[in-house]
Amino acid sequence: MKFTFKGGIHPYEGKELTEDKDVKEYLPKGDMVYPLSQHIGAPAKPVVKKGDRVLVGQLIAEAGGFVSANIHSSVSGTVKVIENRLTSSGSKVNSIVIENDGQFEEADFATNAISKPLNELTKEEILEAIKSAGVVGMGGAGFPTHVKLSPKEPDKIDTIIVNASECEPYLTSDYRRIIDEADKVIGGLEIVLTMFPGAKGIIGIEDNKPKAIKLLKEKLAGRTDIIVNALKTKYPEGAERQLIYANTGRYINSNMLPADAGCIVHNVDTVYAIYEAVREGRPLIDRLVTVSGDAITEPTNFVVRMGTSYKELIEAAGGFKGTPDKVIAGGPMMGKAIYELDLPATKSSSAILCMSKDEVAEYEPSACIRCGRCVDVCPGRVMPNALANAVERDDMDTFMSLNGMECCECGCCSYICPAKRHLTQTIAGARKLVLASRKK
């Protein structure tokens, strides 16, 4: 195993801004906003109404279907209103707004904790605990974890991969989670492994995090059921398909799920949340968020309660240094630029990056010079130049015949393009059109 994949790029990492700083817990002051769609699937249904008093960890919206997730309050206070609010995706989503009373009075969720030894835990118990805690994939997509852990053919799953590669520049929240809570991360993976007897656990981590690798290897010394793979540092090592290939040598395409290759992939924060849900009965109400970038006074990792406004987090990190030119929700490669700061942190908010210079807007795109560098770096093994040309002349048949749907929108082609063409954006736009026409 080479622990890498074809293509990829080496952008400036920017991790030194936050990686050695202690994580701070941030207690929100203002109103909390809980969008009912923080996950993939059906929106959750509110179970509280205006004027109700809620406690920390209390269920405020229940899953609206099998592929959906529960949402819990992360503060104590009263429900102010249920209305459409702007989220970091840029669209308005029906949300529960809770007026925070600043008491942080906790509901009694510790009674749900299951303290049985690992070998006595049943699959149903674990799934139920995860489902009621509202755990979703915290790497960015927000796919409900209990659905991911119920594959059609569970016997075929032979590998559980914990994605600790954190290949996006600037982000260090997963790294801090491992350094601070390695036992709970391993504990979470052990719980998942009990559900799939015979499966092997792999923690895939990029080799630019030697301290974390050393720590994990020490903790797992002498164990054969969980191994730590030091992967080559390269973006997008943490993309699901590339991660599976680097760790197992199995290749999947856009029509397949990781389960088709016998794998289930979880983010570090997700396995941590699984541990807390099962062992402490604690619902998913907070997560680590990296607030970083060169326009932030004190880049820091925060333990953020869901629903906290980005504005408060930026203030907590010392506010802006100068005027930021661009603020991004998520990592710089795949995150979305935001144009309004009063947005709630959700289950899939991994970072807030504030840049003093908008490096994308600085260059005018020019014609393709046919150098082929985008083809070289594309981890999806497609030809971004040809795909973008096809989209520009509205030729969707060519787009499909060149396997345009294999694009994972990682952004490597746009990053490397010397002509500064908007390759990823163009291809991503066409993919959305194709997906939308399939739904019809």
């Binding site: 669209s91 630029a337 144009y339 994308v360 991503a428």
Partner: protein, 262 residues
């Protein structure tokens, strides 16, 4: 060179030619494809743009469909009432007489509508509509002006003027390609001589509309109350005109507080 060889070659080729001509002549009589004379007549009348606006593969496809009775005589959107009438004379059937044209339901040009942020990327509405807020315009229903409809129009009837698409209704052949191209579904087919048209597509609450654009329909309902024909209804904070009832009296235009009806 021997003259005879040239003569022989010419004779052989000539003989083969005559033989082939006779065979082809017999074959064309024997294996003749029966073409409905109606279909040919209809095809003669159709404009021949092959734009596909009717939904059939070109004018030949539509002519066949009309001759078989699968499509109505007025199925060609480009030809308009004159062509429809001629076709109706050939195949029989009735024609609806109104000519329809495309209409962009947005008046929020650069000056009147605000942008939420600066957009960097391909100048194409369908791609821009994937950026946060479904595009940089503060109003998520309005025309973005990147011209996907301009590219789709084969008749040069649409142009971007001051940041929004404007249809030249005399050039419009009502093929409907722009209606399909617009990611925000702003373009609607309206009667050529429609008396009152609502120049807004925003289904937002009045306050939000006001915040994004100075000429947006706020859904106040004054037009609906004052229309003597009862042709205007307000659905989801947006006025809608029933063109079959509208007489073009102009009362709504006078009463509208934001002057969004033209």
């Amino acid at each position: 060179m021997d003259v005879m060889s040239i003569v022989i070659a010419a004779a052989v080729i000539g003989a083969v030619g005559i033989l082939a001509a006779v065979l082809l002549g017999i074959a064309s009589e024997k294996f003749k494809v029966e073409v409905d004379p109606k279909e040919e007549a209809v095809r003669e009348v159709l404009p021949g743009n092959n734009c596909g606006g009717c939904g059939y593969p070109g004018c030949d496809g539509l002519a066949a469909a009309i001759a078989k009775g699968e499509a109505k005589p007025d199925a060609c959107p480009v030809g308009g009432p004159e062509v429809a009438e001629k076709i109706a004379q050939i195949v029989g059937g009735e024609v609806s007489a109104t000519k329809k044209v495309a209409y962009v339901k947005c008046a929020g040009n650069c000056e009147k509508a605000k942008d939420a942020y600066q957009y960097v990327g391909p100048q194409d509405c369908r791609i821009a509509s994937n950026s946060p807020g479904a595009g940089p315009k503060a109003c998520s229903y309005g025309c973005m002006g990147y011209g996907s409809c301009v590219k789709a129009c084969q008749f040069g009837a649409i142009s971007i003027i001051d940041g929004i698409a404007v249809v030249d209704k005399d050039k419009c052949k009502s093929c409907g390609m722009c209606v399909a191209a617009c990611p925000r579904n702003i373009i609607e087919m309206v009667p050529y001589d429609a008396g009152a048209k609502v120049q807004c597509n925003s289904k937002d609450f009045g306050k939000d509309v006001k915040a994004a654009c100075s000429v947006g329909c706020i859904g106040c309902g004054i037009c609906a109350k004052n229309c003597p024909e009862g042709a205007i209804t307000v659905e989801g904070f947006l006025a809608k005109v029933d063109y079959s009832k509208c007489t073009g009296c102009g009362t709504c235009k006078e009463k509208c507080p934001v002057k969004v009806i033209e």
